[in-house]
Symmetry: C2
Subunit: 339 residues, 2 copies
């Protein structure tokens, strides 16, 4: 197996900087769009044959150094009793968002083996096909809570922030349940065969430092503590957290994943451990010369060791495939023999 | 006149920390909603009697230390030839967004006296009524460009980023035109009587450090250089810029306005000049005890001098008015005699 990603995640020397791409198994691939035709998101997520096939798609096209299971951070909310659907053109929608403490107390915490056997089956099917590490993942408690409370994506996160400030006891119970669900899911994913896990706290950047420390860090820290027992590298990913990164780092993670709104040199200085990122997904729409120049700058600011190359957030649907291929090959070429 | 805000903007000693609130003349006020009934946004913006009345509304309710003209950053785009409307529930929409270099070359740069006489008239009407400084404002070139290119608010700013990377010469012409329009508008606002101006680069936080430096800073710097001749304090405001703040500061501004996603202590350390901000607008929905505790923390991290208290972004529509009143009074009380 090509273990470059796992070595980089541990801060070891690597033959080249490993590359993977958030949402690499997704909508920018024509073969993915073809497979999705006439099927809902949940039908595909919950079909291990299809999910395994999708997981492998990007590896057929590009020399990626990891696979990531085709899944989503939100299905665990269904197992807890929430009514999740993915509405085309709008994204995830929860029909009965959490608005009362009673709803929070009714949330179940079922084991992943019972609530999400499909994703574990997907892992078992895809694993033997791979020559690169397989990444599993889960949503962090705050990001899951924000979807559960807002009912979908939000620009202001107002209801979530109101709940944490106004109902701190209920917030604590909710975050503890979400933490337990995420910890169990990741444990089961590792048992099923993943080599590395990523915790997505994608919306942690909505909060200021004081709120993050008070209402989020205690749960994230507890989650990372439990993940420490898994013996696989753990990536802690978020976006928009340039102003709170030191507190996210304190909460845990072997690798800190950041978006493009912070320089990787600054991120490394704050993290004092390996980092992942952080090309702006929009940069893939630039002419290749321009994209290459940005990639050079990025690699320069990251340094040769303890860096996993990735985008700063998910690849965008209409991304030109040629640029993806060139980018992946260029990162390998350019960093060959660096560390 | 209560000159506390102007003194704080210059870093001088103040009898208390001055307070104003972004969008203080806006939708959270029932008297504003009543006045807007049956009138479009543009009808109100372009009626100096109504705009002056709205500007004064929040001052009747709260002990604010500044007024800000009721206006918007986008009307200058109409003067340049773009078709702007405000769609209820959706926000600003440009019917013919900039997608070609030809469209950019057709944009006019009319003087503000000709294209926006109403806002200047609003200033002349409201000024004699005030015992506090009046703040004028304009959108920064990047934020205006993003609306003009995307056609409205965007989550990814993909078209804007693609234009800057793919059509650098057209991007330069566009940014120069927007810079000229903003500089002239602010000059005329000062001539009409405003005591302070704010440049809103609200969406600068969409960019990483390299993009900001290459595609935005040269124009912002030029704008601030021209504003230096106005002899009023200039506030440079943005959101989500914790990771790029040093470059925004280098571009200019007497006061640096930031949102809540960076601690004010960190912002001051980077800015080395007075700062404005930065309470999360969502904090106003918390119980008063909680809101007061956050306000204490915020004042602590800001220090007693060179701080203008504000929210980190515009006040939200359903904000409880009682909390606004308590907040404004509390900041005054708590900081009395500090510096």
């Amino acid at each position: 197996m090509n273990e470059t990603l796992l070595r980089a995640a541990r801060g070891r020397t690597v033959p080249f900087t490993p590359v993977w791409i958030m949402r690499q198994a997704g909508r920018y691939l024509p073969e993915y769009r073809a497979l999705r035709k006439g099927r809902t998101m949940l039908q595909v997520l919950h079909n291990p044959d299809l999910a395994a096939a999708i997981t492998l798609m990007p590896l057929r096209r590009f020399e990626l150094d990891a696979a990531i299971i085709f899944y989503d951070i939100l299905p665990p909310l269904r197992g807890m009793g929430l009514d999740l659907t993915f509405v085309p053109g709008r994204g995830p929608v929860l029909a009965d968002p959490l608005r009362t403490t009673k709803q929070i107390d009714r949330l179940r915490v079922p084991p992943a083996t019972e609530a999400m056997p499909e994703v574990l089956e997907t892992i078992r099917r895809v694993k033997p096909e791979l020559h690169v590490p397989l990444i599993g993942f889960a949503g962090a408690p705050f990001t899951l809570a924000s979807y559960a409370i807002e009912g979908g994506y939000s620009r202001t996160f107002l209801r979530t922030k109101r709940m944490m400030a106004s109902e701190p006891a209920a917030w604590d119970r909710l975050m503890m349940k979400l933490m337990a669900v995420a910890a169990d899911l990741l444990q089961e994913q590792v048992d099923a065969g993943v080599d590395c896990v990523q915790v997505f706290d994608s919306w942690a950047g909505a909060l200021g430092p004081a709120d993050y420390r008070r209402y989020v860090a205690p749960y994230t820290r507890r989650l990372f503590k439990r993940l420490g027992a898994l013996n696989v590298p753990v990536i802690h990913f978020s976006t928009g957290t340039a102003g709170t990164l030191e507190y996210l780092v304190q909460a845990g993670g072997d690798v800190i994943g950041v978006d493009w709104r912070i320089g990787l040199d600054a991120a490394r200085r704050i993290a004092q451990r390996p980092v992942m990122g952080n090309l702006d997904p929009a940069a893939l729409f630039a002419p290749w010369r321009e994209l290459r120049a940005r990639t050079d700058e990025l690699l320069q600011s990251a340094g040769p060791r303890g860096h996993i190359f990735n985008l700063g957030h998910g690849i965008l649907p209409e991304t030109p495939l040629d640029n993806v291929r060139r980018l992946v090959d260029y990162v390998h070429e350019k960093t060959q023999g660096d560390a």
